[in-house]
Every structure is written in structure tokens, then in C-alpha cells.
């Protein structure tokens, strides 16, 4: 896979998940007690042998630089190749930047690259996948563009991209913003193609006023290219809403999913921070939960995910909740069906309760 250049596009429709993305793109939303969503695609690329990864920065890129820095934690800090950033190109008229214009402005870089293939992806899907089989599939069919998809396991009205494939994988139709149905082929937004095809599509689409790689590039040129779908059968969850976010975190309390994502396959890397093992005190009661290092637990926790350095005081009780880094839950507080963003403090005896299908979200740095 060192013949593949990875591109991670962090431009996204942030409206879908706005409460926890005021200051950051979805890709850097904290997840699973320790990670940020972008860790999955980055680690998957690295574990597949890709050593040259470009990140298209969104407008609010501070948290991206802060998290990824040189790429050292993903072994991407290299004297040659390794990690590089593509700064956003501000469009003249509207404030949103546009992925095709960023690609187009950086096309010289792509032209000079020595890699044969491009793997283009977004940054907010949770999965642990090795791309080598997809590359082999791409090479063995006469595919110009391979789109990686997974099978939907349930109906959903949340918009997604649905593919119609022939038996050999050839895609006959692409429906963007479609509702999903059982067994539908849902695109994971990951595209594999030769570097030349990538450059051709970017130039063609941008020069005709396009902005979106899928809509203005692949879909307009569907007749010109052989577009194939590659079916990935592992666990996949793309985070597009608070509901997705909450549900996917809770999925991790299923030991099979936790094992598959983090332990059975290649490792998921993240920014390493210094911390100490979690401390359980004499009155601690913890069940069916994920607990990160640095936590100090004197109270009761069940069906919850505790990020690093969370303190649960005596008598406090946490249920069905996601408590992000640095939160303090004081004595005898009750927290149920809640998402606490970073560094929230809940005072003694306070009770917070959301609904299981509509969690209560507490913003960063709030003191309640």
C-alpha cells in the first residue's frame, strides 16, 4: 500500500451534529473514552501500509492540528513523505470552503507525487479495516473508481448515499441523500482510484464549477468511468448526528464490537498523553462500562463511557452516559442519559436526566 496516497477530507455538513461541534469538526469529536473520530481512518490507512497521508483542513482546524500535530503517534512523522496538511481555500463569495477547490489548488502536489493510487475518505466513520483487499479488488476488476460500502442493518431516514450494484460489483446507480433500507448498499464515502483518474476528475469537475467530489465529479462522470463497489462486512458506523454518536458509543459496551474495533485487528492509534491507571476506591461500584486511564472512581457507574481523568465522587451515580475528559461528578449527584463534553463539573446532589433516545448534552466547561 505504499503505492497509495491517502487523502482525508474534513469538510463536512456540520449542521447535522452541531451541539458538540461548535469549535471543532466532527472528525475531532472525542469518542470511545480516548479517541477522536479521525483516529479510525488515519489508523486504518497506516495499518494498511499507506505512508503518505494528506489532510484537508476544515475552517476550524485548531483541534485538528492540536490532535494530530506531526502525525508521530500514527508513525506518519517522516523526513520524506508522511503526513501533510492541505489548508482550506476560502471561496470568494460564501464562507464555506469547497473540497474541489482545495484539491484543485493543490493539484501540482498530486501531480508530482510518486504514488499510483489515491484513497479518498472522510474523517468521521468508526471502523477497523485493512484496505489491501479493496486494492486487490480494484486491480482485479477493470474498475476506474472503487467505492467502499457496507450493508445497512436497519431502516433509517437519515440521509446517506445508496449504491446499486451488479453482482460483479459494477455500480449502476448512485443516490445521494437517500433514505436507507434494510440491506441497502451504503457508501462509506471512501473512494479508491488511480492518481491519474483522481486528477482528471478534479480538473474536469472544478473547471466546470463543481464543488463536491462525489456529486460534481463521480456522479457527473459516471458514464465515462467504470465505477465499482467493494463490500466491507465489518462493523461500520458513520457519525452524522448526536443520535449516531450516542448510539455508537453505547455499541462499544457490546464486547464483540469493542474487541473487533480495538483488539482483534490492527491497533487504533491516537495522540498519546501521559496518564495513570484508573483508580477504584473502596466504595466504587462499576458495571458494564468503559473506563479510561486517569479516572478516580469512588461512586457508582453503569452502562457508561468515562474518558480520561474523570472523577466520580462518593455517592455519585452515572448511568447510560458519556462523560468526556476532565469532568468531575461530585458527591451524590445523579447523571443519567447524559453526554458531558470536556471539563464539565456537576455539583453535589444535582440530578441530570435525559431520555435514552434523546440524551441531554452538557456543553464544554459548564458548571452545573
Amino acid at each position: 500500500m505504499n503505492r497509495v496516497i491517502g487523502l482525508i477530507n474534513l469538510e463536512e455538513d456540520r449542521q447535522l451534529i452541531k451541539e458538540i461541534t461548535t469549535d471543532r469538526p466532527i472528525a475531532t469529536v472525542p469518542f470511545a473514552g480516548r479517541y477522536r473520530l479521525i483516529d479510525f481512518i488515519l489508523s486504518n490507512m497506516v495499518n494498511s501500509g499507506i505512508i503518505n497521508v494528506g489532510i484537508l483542513l476544515p475552517q476550524k482546524f485548531g483541534s485538528v492540528l492540536d490532535h494530530i500535530r506531526s502525525g508521530k503517534d500514527w508513525d506518519l512523522a517522516r523526513r520524506h513523505e508522511g503526513l501533510f496538511y492541505l489548508p482550506p481555500v476560502c471561496a470568494k463569495n460564501d464562507s464555506a470552503s469547497c473540497e474541489l477547490s482545495t484539491f484543485y489548488k493543490n493539484i501540482d502536489f498530486m501531480k508530482k507525487s510518486t504514488q499510483d493510487y489515491v484513497l479518498l475518505s472522510g474523517g468521521h466513520t468508526v471502523f477497523n479495516m485493512n484496505f489491501n483487499n479493496a486494492l486487490r479488488f480494484h486491480q482485479n476488476t477493470n474498475s476506474d473508481i472503487t467505492i467502499i460500502y457496507h450493508k445497512a442493518t436497519h431502516e433509517s431516514s437519515a440521509p446517506c448515499t445508496v449504491l446499486q450494484c451488479k453482482e460483479n460489483g459494477l455500480i449502476t446507480d448512485i443516490a445521494n441523500h437517500s433514505a436507507s433500507y434494510n440491506d441497502a448498499n451504503i457508501s462509506m464515502g471512501i473512494y479508491l482510484m488511480s492518481r491519474k483518474t483522481f486528477i482528471d476528475i478534479v480538473e474536469y469537475a472544478y473547471e466546470r464549477g463543481g464543488c463536491d467530489f462525489l456529486l460534481d465529479g463521480i456522479m457527473r462522470l459516471h458514464n465515462k468511468y467504470n465505477v465499482y463497489g467493494y463490500n466491507y462486512s465489518g462493523y461500520v458506523s458513520t457519525i452524522n448526528s448526536i443520535h449516531d454518536y450516542y448510539k455508537t458509543n453505547m455499541d462499544l459496551l457490546n464486547p464483540q464490537i469493542w474487541q473487533e474495533l480495538f483488539m482483534d485487528n490492527s491497533l487504533i492509534y491516537t495522540r498519546t498523553k501521559n496518564d495513570i491507571p484508573a483508580q477504584y476506591k473502596s466504595k466504587a461500584k462499576v458495571q458494564n462500562s468503559l473506563i479510561a486511564n486517569g479516572c478516580i472512581i469512588e461512586g457508582t457507574v453503569s452502562n457508561s463511557i468515562l474518558f480520561r481523568d474523570v472523577k466520580i465522587a462518593k455517592g455519585a451515580e452515572i448511568k447510560n452516559s458519556i462523560i468526556m475528559q476532565g469532568c468531575t461528578i461530585n458527591e451524590d449527584a445523579l447523571v443519567e442519559n447524559v453526554i458531558c463534553d470536556k471539563s464539565v463539573t456537576i455539583s453535589p446532589q444535582k440530578w441530570l436526566k435525559g431520555a435514552i433516545n434523546y440524551p441531554f448534552i452538557v456543553e464544554k466547561n459548564t458548571v452545573i
Binding site: 480516548r34 479517541y35 495513570i276 473502596s282 466504587a284 462499576v286 473506563i291
Partner: protein, 385 residues
């Protein structure tokens, strides 16, 4: 290279044979401790936190795992452009090659390394003590006393005093007498094995010591007594925090236990950071029927059973209905269902099969060596080195 004020040398070459089977394959400073650390993390983190950024680590015994763990020194912020951490194994010269014959000889053989940085002071540390300490305060006191050498000291219980180098000092901390492991200790002030020397003076003593064939080339046995004889200005620096020599199985176990309880004797979570390499593992998973109290648990572990008063390292699995009490389970050991472990140290990558029982009859600490597989049949098997 840049002149620096104070350089540290960490003696990490010892085998640590009193740790028995725990050091059969790895050097003592690489032994795991406290749920995610290794012993060498403590002196290295102390150096980094004291602002000492040039550190030589002297290795000799089975250094492969230690070298791999030390890596570039990045873990301790010691991957610096000028200075940083250097691994100093024994080496060959034009006229042949020598192993390190003692603590003083190890430093003597690396005089060239030290001279590169032309330091005013050299801090000598050992790689087998658990403590957090700001060496910069000790250095301040060394300078204020206009001392030639300063030794870190701690009060120990009188009955243990004969295991240490014991000092007598005047009221200002000036050392009047030093006895290495005395049968009749004259005081309870024990050497912590932490020395600051004025480098020029130390170099002179090391050179003199190197040609003394009767010397065992040891700081405590030879260099310090000789300095005292010569009326060199030797001072003590008193330390009253937590400090533990983990040279034996019992003391290693005790030091782990000291981390537990509601207010532990040694609190890893205090402001002073102890750095260690963090593995890429997810938060640990506590199963629906698990019971945990008074314990430390690290990332990647899966606990389905009961853990009490124990230290659980990364990636450890504890199966349903198993009970771990007063024990230390090192990385990636797998405890199956229905196992009982009490007062034991289980080294890395062990597999304890279903229905095994590991506990001693006489209250001593049981040790299971790396990669062992324990079945109910051999389960009484006691392995204290």
C-alpha cells in the same frame, strides 16, 4: 556540544537477581510496576521534571527490552537536539574491551561521554528505586553548602538500617561518617543511592580508583569512604517523601500495594508527572457482573470477575467468577474463569487456566514467571526465583 550545568547518569546495568524469575529475560529497570510503568520511568521522569535534559543510561545486563523501551527518550521528553537521553553500554577500545566492573567503574568508562558536555555537576542515580523527587532542590542545597558531594538520605526503620549505607551527620547535614551496610547502625539515616558530585573532583577520584586493584569500584564501598578520609566536603540532603528500594520480590509487591487504598501511601496522581510509554489500547472494559475495589486498572483490560486490592496492567483479562486479591497482574496475562489468585505477582503474558488457585500457605508472595501456563494441576507451584 553545549556546556551544561548538571548531567545525570543512571546505573541500569544490574541483573537484580533477588527479583528471581522476573529478571530472567529483562533487566531490573525494565520490570513493570504500578499498572503501566517500568521501574526506570521513575528516575527518568524525575530528571525530566527537574529540568535535567542530558541523561546517560548505563546498561549491561539483557538490555534488549530495556533499550527498546527507552527508544529515543521521547517518552520522558528526553529526545532533545542538544543533550537528551543516551544509552551507554560497555564498549571496546583500541586495547581491548571491558565490562562494567562496578558502579564507579561504569561511570569511569564513560568519562569521555561526560566530558563532551563539560558539566559542573554530575548526578548519579540508580535504576531501581520508586520515588518522585525534584533533583533541582538537591542541587540548590549542594551549591548553597559549597559541597563537593551531596548524598540523598532518608530515615529508615532502625531494624532495616543494616541493609543500607548509613550516615552520621552534624546538625547542618555535613557527613561525619559513612558505613556501608553496618552490622551496628549508628543512625537511621540511609543513603538513597543518589549522589551529586562536582564533576572535576569525581573525575579525579574515578581515575584514582580505576588503578586501585584492591577496589571493588563501587560508590558506596570505595569512592565515598575515600572522599571522607580525605576530608572532602560531603553533605547529606534529606528527603521525606515516599521512597522504596524494589530490589526484592517482597518490596516490589509492597510498593505496588502502597499505590492502593483510599488515600494511598504513594499517590501516582499527584502533580508531579511520572512519564511512561502509553500503549495504543482502548479504555478497559468492566463487565456486567464485575466487582472492583481498592485497585488500579489500566487500558485494554477486560474484567468480568472480582478484583480487590490489586494492580492490573494493560491488556489483562480476568474471567467471570475469578477473584484477584492482593496481587499484581502484569501486561497481557490472561486469567480464565473461576480462578483464585491471592498475594501473587503474575509476570507478562501468562495464562492461568480455569479453576486454578494461586496462593501460598506461608504468607509469602508467589511469583509466576513470564509466558508461563498454569493449569489446576500444577497450581500450587511456587516460583520465588
Amino acid at each position: 556540544m553545549k556546556k551544561i550545568e548538571c548531567l545525570a547518569m543512571i546505573l541500569a546495568g544490574g541483573q537484580g537477581s533477588r527479583l528471581g524469575c522476573l529478571t530472567k529475560k529483562i533487566a531490573k529497570p525494565a520490570v513493570p510496576f504500578g499498572g503501566k510503568y517500568r521501574i526506570i520511568d521513575f528516575p527518568l521522569s524525575n530528571c525530566a521534571n527537574s529540568g535535567i535534559e542530558t541523561v546517560g543510561v548505563l546498561t549491561q545486563y539483557r538490555p534488549l527490552e530495556l533499550h527498546t523501551y527507552l527508544g529515543t527518550g521521547e517518552t520522558w521528553n528526553l529526545d532533545r537536539k542538544n543533550g537528551g537521553m543516551f544509552i551507554l553500554p560497555p564498549y571496546a577500545r583500541e586495547k581491548g574491551a571491558d565490562w562494567y566492573k562496578g558502579t564507579a567503574d561504569a561511570i569511569y568508562q564513560n568519562i569521555n561521554f561526560v566530558e563532551n558536555y563539560d558539566p559542573e555537576y554530575v548526578l548519579i542515580l540508580s535504576g531501581d528505586h520508586i520515588y518522585t523527587m525534584d533533583y533541582s532542590w538537591m542541587l540548590e542545597e549542594h551549591k548553597m553548602n559549597k559541597a563537593d558531594a551531596t548524598i540523598g538520605v532518608i530515615r529508615v526503620p532502625q531494624k532495616e538500617a543494616s541493609r543500607f549505607g548509613i550516615m552520621t551527620t552534624d546538625e547542618r547535614g555535613k557527613i561525619l561518617a559513612f558505613d556501608e551496610k553496618p552490622k551496628q547502625p549508628k543512625s537511621d539515616l540511609a543513603s538513597m543511592g543518589i549522589y551529586i558530585f562536582n564533576w572535576k573532583l569525581l573525575k579525579h577520584y574515578l581515575e584514582e580508583d580505576s588503578i586501585d586493584s584492591s577496589s571493588s569500584h563501587d560508590f558506596g564501598k570505595n569512592i565515598i569512604p575515600k572522599m571522607l578520609d580525605n576530608k572532602v566536603r560531603l553533605y547529606s540532603y534529606s528527603f521525606d517523601g515516599y521512597w522504596k528500594d524494589v530490589g526484592t520480590i517482597e518490596s516490589l509487591w509492597e510498593a505496588n500495594m502502597d499505590l492502593l487504598k483510599d488515600t494511598p501511601s504513594f499517590d501516582l496522581g499527584s502533580a508531579w508527572r511520572v512519564y511512561s510509554a502509553t500503549p495504543s489500547l482502548p479504555p478497559h472494559f468492566i463487565g456486567p457482573h464485575a466487582k472492583i475495589k481498592n485497585s488500579l486498572i489500566s487500558s485494554g483490560a477486560v474484567i468480568e470477575g472480582t478484583v480487590e486490592n490489586s494492580v492490573i496492567f494493560s491488556g489483562v483479562k480476568v474471567g467471570a467468577n475469578s477473584k484477584i486479591i492482593n496481587s499484581v497482574i502484569m501486561p497481557f496475562s490472561r486469567i480464565a474463569e473461576n480462578v483464585l489468585i491471592d498475594k501473587a505477582i503474575i509476570a507478562q503474558n501468562c495464562e492461568i487456566m480455569t479453576n486454578s488457585k494461586i496462593m501460598s500457605n506461608d504468607g509469602s508472595v508467589i511469583v509466576i514467571a513470564e509466558n508461563e501456563i498454569i493449569t489446576p494441576i500444577n497450581n500450587g507451584k511456587k516460583q520465588v526465583g
